[in-house]
Protein backbone atom coordinates (compact mmCIF):
# COMPACT_ATOMS: atom_id res chain seq x y z
CA UNK A 1 0.00 0.00 0.00
CA UNK A 2 1.53 3.34 -0.95
CA UNK A 3 1.56 5.66 1.96
CA UNK A 4 -0.27 8.52 0.36
CA UNK A 5 -2.85 6.51 -1.46
CA UNK A 6 -5.46 6.47 1.27
CA UNK A 7 -8.84 5.57 -0.14
CA UNK A 8 -12.06 6.40 1.61
CA UNK A 9 -13.02 3.37 3.68
CA UNK A 10 -16.64 3.39 2.54
CA UNK A 11 -15.81 2.20 -0.96
CA UNK A 12 -13.54 -0.67 0.07
CA UNK A 13 -14.54 -4.31 -0.37
CA UNK A 14 -14.07 -6.61 2.60
CA UNK A 15 -10.93 -8.11 1.04
CA UNK A 16 -9.41 -4.69 0.33
CA UNK A 17 -10.23 -3.41 3.80
CA UNK A 18 -8.87 -6.52 5.47
CA UNK A 19 -5.70 -6.52 3.38
CA UNK A 20 -5.07 -2.92 4.41
CA UNK A 21 -5.76 -3.83 8.01
CA UNK A 22 -3.10 -6.51 7.85
CA UNK A 23 -0.62 -4.03 6.38
CA UNK A 24 -1.37 -1.57 9.16
CA UNK A 25 -0.98 -4.29 11.73
CA UNK A 26 2.48 -5.29 10.57
CA UNK A 27 3.51 -1.64 10.26
CA UNK A 28 2.45 -1.04 13.86
CA UNK A 29 4.13 -4.20 15.07
CA UNK A 30 7.42 -3.32 13.39
CA UNK A 31 7.38 -0.08 15.36
CA UNK A 32 9.32 1.66 12.62
CA UNK A 33 6.77 4.32 11.83
CA UNK A 34 6.91 7.73 13.46
CA UNK A 35 4.55 8.04 16.40
CA UNK A 36 2.31 10.52 14.65
CA UNK A 37 1.95 8.21 11.68
CA UNK A 38 1.37 5.25 13.98
CA UNK A 39 -1.51 7.04 15.65
CA UNK A 40 -3.00 7.73 12.24
CA UNK A 41 -2.52 4.10 11.25
CA UNK A 42 -4.20 2.98 14.46
CA UNK A 43 -7.19 5.20 13.84
CA UNK A 44 -7.38 4.05 10.25
CA UNK A 45 -7.22 0.47 11.50
CA UNK A 46 -10.16 1.05 13.80
CA UNK A 47 -12.19 2.56 11.00
CA UNK A 48 -11.31 -0.41 8.78
CA UNK A 49 -12.38 -2.90 11.44
CA UNK A 50 -15.66 -1.09 11.88
CA UNK A 51 -16.17 -1.11 8.12
CA UNK A 52 -15.39 -4.84 7.90
CA UNK A 53 -17.78 -5.60 10.75
CA UNK A 54 -20.51 -3.58 9.09
CA UNK A 55 -19.91 -5.40 5.82
CA UNK A 56 -20.19 -8.75 7.57
CA UNK A 57 -23.28 -7.75 9.51
CA UNK A 58 -25.13 -6.38 6.53
CA UNK A 59 -23.98 -8.72 3.80
CA UNK A 60 -26.67 -10.14 1.59
CA UNK A 61 -25.87 -12.82 -0.91
CA UNK A 62 -25.56 -11.30 -4.39
CA UNK A 63 -27.02 -13.72 -6.89
CA UNK A 64 -27.01 -13.33 -10.62
CA UNK A 65 -27.88 -15.73 -13.34
CA UNK A 66 -26.11 -16.43 -16.60
CA UNK A 67 -29.39 -16.98 -18.41
CA UNK A 68 -32.61 -15.03 -18.58
CA UNK A 69 -34.63 -18.23 -18.38
CA UNK A 70 -34.20 -18.11 -14.65
CA UNK A 71 -37.25 -17.04 -12.66
CA UNK A 72 -36.79 -13.62 -11.13
CA UNK A 73 -37.59 -14.80 -7.64
CA UNK A 74 -34.51 -16.93 -7.01
CA UNK A 75 -32.99 -14.16 -4.98
CA UNK A 76 -35.95 -14.15 -2.72
CA UNK A 77 -35.44 -17.80 -2.05
CA UNK A 78 -32.45 -17.04 0.08
Amino acid sequence: MAKNEIKPVKGLTYEEAFAELETIMSALESGEKPLDESMQLFERGQVLIKHCTDLLDNARLKVQALSSEVPADIEENE
Binding site: Y14, E15, L21, I24, M25, L28, E29, G31, L35, S38, M39, F42, G45, Q46, I49, C52, T53, L55, L56, A59, R60, L61, K62, V63, Q64, A65, L66, S67, E69, V70, P71, I74, N77, E78
Partner: protein
Protein backbone atom coordinates in the same frame (compact mmCIF):
# COMPACT_ATOMS: atom_id res chain seq x y z
CA UNK B 1 -41.53 -105.70 6.72
CA UNK B 2 -39.90 -103.22 8.97
CA UNK B 3 -36.16 -103.33 9.45
CA UNK B 4 -35.00 -104.05 12.94
CA UNK B 5 -34.05 -100.92 14.72
CA UNK B 6 -31.02 -102.66 16.09
CA UNK B 7 -29.23 -102.61 12.75
CA UNK B 8 -30.31 -99.19 11.70
CA UNK B 9 -27.18 -96.92 11.77
CA UNK B 10 -28.95 -93.80 10.37
CA UNK B 11 -28.64 -90.72 12.57
CA UNK B 12 -31.69 -89.49 14.42
CA UNK B 13 -32.66 -85.85 14.43
CA UNK B 14 -35.27 -83.71 16.00
CA UNK B 15 -37.01 -81.41 13.55
CA UNK B 16 -35.44 -78.46 15.24
CA UNK B 17 -31.93 -79.89 15.02
CA UNK B 18 -32.38 -80.76 11.38
CA UNK B 19 -33.80 -77.39 10.51
CA UNK B 20 -30.99 -75.62 12.35
CA UNK B 21 -28.49 -77.84 10.55
CA UNK B 22 -30.00 -76.92 7.19
CA UNK B 23 -30.05 -73.27 8.12
CA UNK B 24 -26.38 -73.35 9.01
CA UNK B 25 -25.59 -75.16 5.78
CA UNK B 26 -27.21 -72.36 3.84
CA UNK B 27 -25.75 -69.64 5.94
CA UNK B 28 -22.23 -71.02 5.64
CA UNK B 29 -22.36 -70.90 1.87
CA UNK B 30 -20.92 -67.49 0.95
CA UNK B 31 -22.52 -67.73 -2.50
CA UNK B 32 -25.90 -67.55 -0.83
CA UNK B 33 -25.12 -64.81 1.67
CA UNK B 34 -25.03 -61.85 -0.70
CA UNK B 35 -26.37 -62.10 -4.21
CA UNK B 36 -28.82 -60.65 -6.64
CA UNK B 37 -31.90 -62.63 -7.69
CA UNK B 38 -34.04 -61.64 -10.68
CA UNK B 39 -37.74 -62.26 -10.83
CA UNK B 40 -41.23 -60.96 -10.84
CA UNK B 41 -43.01 -59.81 -7.70
CA UNK B 42 -46.14 -61.70 -6.66
CA UNK B 43 -48.17 -62.15 -3.46
CA UNK B 44 -46.94 -58.78 -2.24
CA UNK B 45 -47.98 -58.06 1.36
CA UNK B 46 -47.11 -54.96 3.29
CA UNK B 47 -47.53 -55.87 6.93
CA UNK B 48 -48.62 -53.31 9.49
CA UNK B 49 -45.24 -53.80 11.11
CA UNK B 50 -43.61 -52.22 8.05
CA UNK B 51 -42.05 -55.46 6.84
CA UNK B 52 -42.72 -56.47 3.22
CA UNK B 53 -43.40 -60.09 2.22
CA UNK B 54 -43.51 -61.25 -1.38
CA UNK B 55 -42.63 -64.06 -3.71
CA UNK B 56 -40.16 -63.76 -6.53
CA UNK B 57 -40.93 -66.03 -9.40
CA UNK B 58 -40.06 -66.72 -12.95
CA UNK B 59 -41.47 -69.23 -15.40
CA UNK B 60 -39.94 -72.17 -13.59
CA UNK B 61 -39.74 -71.47 -9.85
CA UNK B 62 -40.74 -69.33 -6.89
CA UNK B 63 -38.77 -67.90 -3.96
CA UNK B 64 -40.23 -66.60 -0.71
CA UNK B 65 -38.84 -63.18 0.16
CA UNK B 66 -39.01 -60.95 3.19
CA UNK B 67 -37.78 -57.36 3.50
CA UNK B 68 -37.57 -55.96 7.02
CA UNK B 69 -38.97 -52.60 7.92
CA UNK B 70 -35.58 -50.88 8.12
CA UNK B 71 -34.54 -51.88 4.62
CA UNK B 72 -38.04 -51.37 3.23
CA UNK B 73 -37.93 -47.75 4.39
CA UNK B 74 -34.82 -47.17 2.24
CA UNK B 75 -36.63 -48.20 -0.94
CA UNK B 76 -36.47 -45.61 -3.68
CA UNK B 77 -39.36 -47.01 -5.64
CA UNK B 78 -42.68 -48.61 -4.80
CA UNK B 79 -42.61 -52.34 -5.53
CA UNK B 80 -45.80 -53.55 -7.24
CA UNK B 81 -47.33 -56.84 -8.19
CA UNK B 82 -45.88 -58.18 -11.40
CA UNK B 83 -42.90 -55.80 -11.44
CA UNK B 84 -39.66 -57.24 -12.73
CA UNK B 85 -37.05 -56.62 -10.08
CA UNK B 86 -33.66 -57.58 -8.78
CA UNK B 87 -33.51 -58.39 -5.12
CA UNK B 88 -30.28 -58.43 -3.14
CA UNK B 89 -30.03 -60.44 0.06
CA UNK B 90 -29.13 -63.71 1.72
CA UNK B 91 -30.79 -67.11 1.87
CA UNK B 92 -31.78 -68.56 5.20
CA UNK B 93 -34.52 -70.65 6.78
CA UNK B 94 -37.40 -69.48 8.88
CA UNK B 95 -37.26 -72.37 11.32
CA UNK B 96 -40.78 -72.02 12.65
CA UNK B 97 -42.33 -72.93 9.31
CA UNK B 98 -39.31 -74.66 7.81
CA UNK B 99 -39.52 -72.22 4.98
CA UNK B 100 -36.31 -71.20 3.27
CA UNK B 101 -36.46 -67.65 2.00
CA UNK B 102 -34.53 -64.69 0.71
CA UNK B 103 -33.93 -61.97 3.29
CA UNK B 104 -33.89 -58.93 1.01
CA UNK B 105 -31.79 -55.89 1.92
CA UNK B 106 -32.07 -54.06 -1.36
CA UNK B 107 -34.55 -54.07 -4.18
CA UNK B 108 -34.46 -52.32 -7.53
CA UNK B 109 -36.31 -52.36 -10.83
CA UNK B 110 -34.70 -54.81 -13.24
CA UNK B 111 -33.50 -52.08 -15.64
CA UNK B 112 -31.39 -50.56 -12.93
CA UNK B 113 -29.17 -53.57 -12.85
CA UNK B 114 -28.30 -52.87 -16.46
CA UNK B 115 -27.70 -49.22 -15.59
CA UNK B 116 -25.49 -50.28 -12.75
CA UNK B 117 -23.45 -52.54 -15.04
CA UNK B 118 -23.06 -49.60 -17.38
CA UNK B 119 -22.06 -47.42 -14.43
CA UNK B 120 -19.36 -49.89 -13.39
CA UNK B 121 -18.07 -50.27 -16.95
CA UNK B 122 -17.82 -46.50 -17.45
CA UNK B 123 -16.33 -45.99 -14.02
CA UNK B 124 -13.56 -48.51 -14.75
CA UNK B 125 -12.91 -46.89 -18.10
CA UNK B 126 -12.66 -43.34 -16.76
CA UNK B 127 -10.71 -44.48 -13.76
CA UNK B 128 -8.15 -46.13 -16.02
CA UNK B 129 -7.86 -42.85 -17.87
CA UNK B 130 -6.89 -41.18 -14.60
CA UNK B 131 -9.89 -38.88 -14.43
CA UNK B 132 -10.59 -39.87 -10.82
CA UNK B 133 -6.96 -39.65 -9.76
CA UNK B 134 -6.79 -37.88 -6.37
CA UNK B 135 -3.54 -36.23 -7.49
CA UNK B 136 -5.50 -34.45 -10.23
CA UNK B 137 -7.89 -32.83 -7.76
CA UNK B 138 -7.50 -29.17 -7.05
CA UNK B 139 -7.78 -27.49 -3.69
CA UNK B 140 -10.95 -25.56 -2.92
CA UNK B 141 -10.25 -21.91 -2.05
CA UNK B 142 -10.97 -21.08 1.57
CA UNK B 143 -12.66 -17.80 0.82
CA UNK B 144 -14.05 -17.81 -2.73
CA UNK B 145 -15.10 -14.40 -3.99
CA UNK B 146 -17.38 -15.87 -6.61
CA UNK B 147 -19.18 -19.19 -6.47
CA UNK B 148 -20.75 -20.64 -9.58
CA UNK B 149 -23.77 -22.88 -9.23
CA UNK B 150 -24.79 -25.32 -11.91
CA UNK B 151 -28.20 -26.77 -11.18
CA UNK B 152 -31.86 -26.44 -11.96
CA UNK B 153 -33.15 -22.91 -11.31
CA UNK B 154 -36.34 -24.33 -9.87
CA UNK B 155 -34.99 -27.17 -7.77
CA UNK B 156 -34.78 -27.50 -4.01
CA UNK B 157 -31.03 -27.98 -4.44
CA UNK B 158 -30.59 -24.35 -5.51
CA UNK B 159 -32.69 -23.12 -2.62
CA UNK B 160 -30.69 -25.19 -0.16
CA UNK B 161 -27.38 -24.01 -1.55
CA UNK B 162 -28.36 -20.32 -1.55
CA UNK B 163 -29.70 -20.59 1.96
CA UNK B 164 -26.48 -22.18 3.15
CA UNK B 165 -24.29 -19.62 1.38
CA UNK B 166 -26.32 -16.72 2.77
CA UNK B 167 -25.96 -18.13 6.26
CA UNK B 168 -22.27 -18.96 6.08
CA UNK B 169 -20.67 -16.43 3.74
CA UNK B 170 -22.99 -13.77 2.36
CA UNK B 171 -20.02 -11.74 1.09
CA UNK B 172 -19.70 -14.23 -1.72
CA UNK B 173 -21.02 -13.41 -5.15
CA UNK B 174 -23.11 -16.20 -6.62
CA UNK B 175 -23.51 -16.83 -10.32
CA UNK B 176 -26.16 -19.32 -11.33
CA UNK B 177 -25.68 -21.18 -14.56
CA UNK B 178 -29.03 -22.89 -14.93
CA UNK B 179 -29.52 -26.27 -16.52
CA UNK B 180 -32.02 -29.09 -16.41
CA UNK B 181 -30.64 -31.85 -14.19
CA UNK B 182 -32.58 -34.83 -15.45
CA UNK B 183 -33.81 -36.13 -18.77
CA UNK B 184 -32.08 -36.89 -22.02
CA UNK B 185 -30.96 -33.36 -22.69
CA UNK B 186 -29.61 -32.84 -19.16
CA UNK B 187 -26.01 -34.09 -19.64
CA UNK B 188 -25.33 -31.87 -22.64
CA UNK B 189 -27.04 -28.89 -20.96
CA UNK B 190 -25.00 -29.39 -17.77
CA UNK B 191 -21.80 -29.52 -19.83
CA UNK B 192 -22.74 -26.26 -21.54
CA UNK B 193 -23.64 -24.65 -18.20
CA UNK B 194 -20.21 -25.48 -16.77
CA UNK B 195 -18.46 -24.19 -19.88
CA UNK B 196 -20.53 -21.00 -19.98
CA UNK B 197 -19.66 -20.29 -16.36
CA UNK B 198 -15.92 -20.77 -16.95
CA UNK B 199 -16.01 -18.61 -20.02
CA UNK B 200 -18.21 -15.67 -19.11
CA UNK B 201 -17.87 -15.20 -15.35
CA UNK B 202 -15.11 -17.49 -14.10
CA UNK B 203 -15.90 -18.41 -10.51
CA UNK B 204 -13.40 -19.52 -7.85
CA UNK B 205 -15.34 -22.72 -7.36
CA UNK B 206 -18.35 -24.40 -8.98
CA UNK B 207 -21.10 -26.19 -7.11
CA UNK B 208 -22.66 -28.89 -9.28
CA UNK B 209 -25.70 -30.36 -7.66
CA UNK B 210 -29.19 -31.66 -7.60
CA UNK B 211 -31.49 -33.01 -4.94
CA UNK B 212 -32.23 -36.62 -4.24
CA UNK B 213 -34.03 -38.91 -6.65
CA UNK B 214 -34.05 -42.38 -8.10
CA UNK B 215 -31.02 -43.76 -9.87
CA UNK B 216 -32.65 -42.82 -13.19
CA UNK B 217 -33.21 -39.27 -11.95
CA UNK B 218 -29.53 -38.95 -11.09
CA UNK B 219 -28.37 -40.65 -14.25
CA UNK B 220 -27.26 -37.48 -16.03
CA UNK B 221 -24.51 -37.24 -13.40
CA UNK B 222 -23.07 -40.52 -14.65
CA UNK B 223 -22.75 -39.22 -18.19
CA UNK B 224 -19.27 -39.46 -19.64
CA UNK B 225 -19.49 -36.03 -21.28
CA UNK B 226 -20.37 -34.40 -17.96
CA UNK B 227 -17.55 -36.24 -16.18
CA UNK B 228 -15.11 -34.91 -18.77
CA UNK B 229 -16.54 -31.39 -18.49
CA UNK B 230 -16.03 -31.49 -14.72
CA UNK B 231 -12.42 -32.58 -15.19
CA UNK B 232 -11.87 -29.89 -17.83
CA UNK B 233 -13.45 -27.10 -15.79
CA UNK B 234 -10.99 -24.32 -15.04
CA UNK B 235 -12.62 -23.69 -11.67
CA UNK B 236 -12.54 -26.58 -9.19
CA UNK B 237 -15.87 -28.39 -8.89
CA UNK B 238 -17.67 -29.56 -5.76
CA UNK B 239 -20.36 -32.12 -6.49
CA UNK B 240 -23.42 -32.51 -4.32
CA UNK B 241 -25.74 -34.97 -5.96
CA UNK B 242 -28.66 -36.70 -4.27
CA UNK B 243 -28.21 -38.06 -0.77
CA UNK B 244 -25.38 -39.40 1.33
CA UNK B 245 -25.72 -42.89 -0.18
CA UNK B 246 -25.76 -41.81 -3.81
CA UNK B 247 -22.49 -41.98 -5.67
CA UNK B 248 -22.32 -40.80 -9.26
CA UNK B 249 -19.35 -40.69 -11.65
CA UNK B 250 -19.41 -36.91 -11.33
CA UNK B 251 -18.75 -37.40 -7.61
CA UNK B 252 -15.60 -39.35 -8.46
CA UNK B 253 -14.46 -36.77 -11.00
CA UNK B 254 -15.21 -33.71 -8.88
CA UNK B 255 -12.38 -32.04 -7.01
CA UNK B 256 -14.43 -32.54 -3.89
CA UNK B 257 -17.49 -34.70 -3.31
CA UNK B 258 -20.22 -33.51 -0.99
CA UNK B 259 -23.02 -35.77 0.18
CA UNK B 260 -25.76 -33.25 -0.64
CA UNK B 261 -26.16 -29.83 -2.28
CA UNK B 262 -26.23 -28.23 1.18
CA UNK B 263 -23.02 -29.99 2.12
CA UNK B 264 -21.47 -28.78 -1.16
CA UNK B 265 -22.31 -25.19 -0.23
CA UNK B 266 -20.76 -25.78 3.18
CA UNK B 267 -17.56 -27.19 1.73
CA UNK B 268 -17.31 -24.19 -0.59
CA UNK B 269 -17.36 -21.85 2.41
CA UNK B 270 -14.67 -23.25 4.67
CA UNK B 271 -14.37 -19.80 6.21
CA UNK B 272 -17.67 -18.46 7.45
CA UNK B 273 -18.77 -14.99 8.32
CA UNK B 274 -18.39 -16.00 11.97
CA UNK B 275 -14.76 -16.94 11.40
CA UNK B 276 -14.17 -13.54 9.80
CA UNK B 277 -15.82 -11.80 12.74
CA UNK B 278 -13.64 -13.78 15.11
CA UNK B 279 -10.61 -12.63 13.15
CA UNK B 280 -11.83 -9.04 13.38
CA UNK B 281 -12.25 -9.28 17.14
CA UNK B 282 -8.72 -10.62 17.28
CA UNK B 283 -7.58 -7.77 15.04
CA UNK B 284 -9.09 -5.18 17.37
CA UNK B 285 -7.16 -6.71 20.24
CA UNK B 286 -3.91 -6.91 18.27
CA UNK B 287 -4.27 -3.39 16.94
CA UNK B 288 -4.71 -2.00 20.43
CA UNK B 289 -1.84 -4.13 21.67
CA UNK B 290 0.58 -2.99 18.98
CA UNK B 291 -0.27 0.61 19.67
CA UNK B 292 0.22 0.11 23.41
CA UNK B 293 3.57 -1.56 22.75
CA UNK B 294 4.53 1.29 20.51
CA UNK B 295 3.54 3.88 23.10
CA UNK B 296 5.38 1.94 25.81
CA UNK B 297 8.50 1.82 23.69
CA UNK B 298 8.23 5.52 22.98
CA UNK B 299 7.72 6.23 26.67
CA UNK B 300 10.82 4.26 27.54
CA UNK B 301 12.79 6.14 24.92
CA UNK B 302 11.41 9.37 26.21
CA UNK B 303 12.33 8.52 29.80
CA UNK B 304 15.85 7.73 28.69
CA UNK B 305 16.15 10.96 26.82
CA UNK B 306 14.75 12.88 29.73
CA UNK B 307 17.38 11.44 32.03
CA UNK B 308 20.08 12.33 29.53
CA UNK B 309 18.65 15.74 29.05
CA UNK B 310 18.66 16.40 32.75
CA UNK B 311 22.35 15.48 32.86
CA UNK B 312 23.30 17.82 30.07
CA UNK B 313 20.80 20.50 30.90
CA UNK B 314 21.97 24.17 31.09
CA UNK B 315 20.12 24.28 34.38
CA UNK B 316 22.52 21.75 35.72
CA UNK B 317 25.42 23.83 34.39
CA UNK B 318 23.96 26.82 36.13
CA UNK B 319 23.69 24.83 39.32
CA UNK B 320 27.29 23.80 39.01
CA UNK B 321 28.41 27.33 38.27
CA UNK B 322 26.37 28.54 41.19
CA UNK B 323 28.05 26.09 43.44
CA UNK B 324 31.46 27.13 42.23
CA UNK B 325 30.44 30.68 42.76
CA UNK B 326 29.31 29.86 46.27
CA UNK B 327 32.61 28.19 46.94
CA UNK B 328 34.44 31.14 45.58
CA UNK B 329 32.26 33.39 47.63
CA UNK B 330 33.04 31.59 50.82
CA UNK B 331 36.74 31.68 50.08
CA UNK B 332 36.55 35.29 48.98
CA UNK B 333 34.80 36.33 52.16
CA UNK B 334 37.52 34.85 54.30
CA UNK B 335 40.11 36.58 52.22
CA UNK B 336 38.26 39.82 52.40
CA UNK B 337 37.84 39.58 56.16
CA UNK B 338 41.51 39.00 56.52
CA UNK B 339 42.18 41.91 54.23
CA UNK B 340 39.86 44.13 56.24
CA UNK B 341 41.50 43.05 59.41
CA UNK B 342 44.86 43.92 58.04
CA UNK B 343 43.56 47.25 56.78
CA UNK B 344 42.00 47.89 60.20
CA UNK B 345 45.25 47.19 61.95
CA UNK B 346 47.13 49.42 59.60
CA UNK B 347 44.61 52.14 60.06
CA UNK B 348 45.00 51.83 63.78
CA UNK B 349 48.73 52.16 63.51
CA UNK B 350 48.36 55.14 61.31
CA UNK B 351 45.90 56.61 63.69
CA UNK B 352 48.38 56.22 66.56
CA UNK B 353 51.12 57.67 64.50
CA UNK B 354 48.88 60.46 63.45
CA UNK B 355 47.90 61.03 67.03
CA UNK B 356 51.53 61.20 67.92
CA UNK B 357 52.03 63.85 65.31
CA UNK B 358 49.16 65.98 66.55
CA UNK B 359 50.64 69.44 67.34
CA UNK B 360 48.15 69.76 70.11
CA UNK B 361 49.90 66.87 71.84
CA UNK B 362 53.20 68.79 71.61
CA UNK B 363 51.51 71.85 73.06
CA UNK B 364 50.20 69.59 75.85
CA UNK B 365 53.75 68.76 76.67
CA UNK B 366 54.53 72.47 77.14
CA UNK B 367 55.79 73.48 73.74
CA UNK B 368 54.46 76.55 71.87
CA UNK B 369 53.77 77.21 68.26
CA UNK B 370 54.74 80.62 66.92
CA UNK B 371 53.23 81.98 63.74
CA UNK B 372 53.75 85.25 61.91
CA UNK B 373 51.08 86.17 59.44
CA UNK B 374 49.63 82.65 59.73
CA UNK B 375 52.99 81.07 58.94
CA UNK B 376 54.84 78.88 61.39
CA UNK B 377 58.04 80.51 62.53
CA UNK B 378 60.68 77.84 62.66
CA UNK B 379 63.79 80.00 61.95
CA UNK B 380 65.17 83.21 63.44
CA UNK B 381 65.59 84.52 59.95
CA UNK B 382 61.90 84.77 59.57
CA UNK B 383 61.52 87.58 62.10
CA UNK B 384 62.77 91.08 62.71
CA UNK B 385 62.51 93.09 65.80
CA UNK B 386 59.14 94.67 66.17
CA UNK B 387 57.30 91.96 64.33
CA UNK B 388 54.02 90.90 65.81
CA UNK B 389 53.79 87.20 66.39
CA UNK B 390 51.06 84.85 67.57
CA UNK B 391 51.90 82.16 70.09
CA UNK B 392 49.84 79.07 70.55
CA UNK B 393 50.04 77.21 73.78
CA UNK B 394 48.10 74.29 75.27
CA UNK B 395 45.00 76.21 76.19
CA UNK B 396 44.89 78.95 73.59
CA UNK B 397 46.96 81.72 72.06
CA UNK B 398 48.29 85.22 72.71
CA UNK B 399 50.13 87.90 70.79
CA UNK B 400 53.73 88.78 71.29
CA UNK B 401 56.33 91.15 69.81
CA UNK B 402 59.86 90.52 68.80
CA UNK B 403 62.05 92.79 70.87
CA UNK B 404 65.36 91.75 69.62
CA UNK B 405 67.16 89.00 67.89
CA UNK B 406 69.25 88.01 70.78
Amino acid sequence: MEQLALFDASPRWTVSDLTRHLRLLLENDPELQGMWVQGEISNLVRAASGHIYFTLKDSGAALKCVMWKGEAAQLKFVPREGAAVEAHGRISIYEVSGQYQLYVDSLRPLGEGVLYQEFLRLKALLEAEGLFDPARKRPIPELPKRIGIVTSPTGAALRDMLKTLQRRMPLTEVVLSPSPVQGDEAPQALVRAIQALNESMPPDVILLGRGGGSIEDLWAFNDERLVRAVVASRAPVISGVGHETDFTLVDFAADLRAATPTAAAELATALTVLDLKQTLVESVRMLAESLMDLLDRQQTLLDGIQTGLRFYSPLRRIDIEQQRLDDFGRHGNALQAHRLELAGARLNGLQNRLAALNPQAVLERGYSLVTKDEKVVSSRSQVRAGDNLRVRVRDGSFDARVTGKG
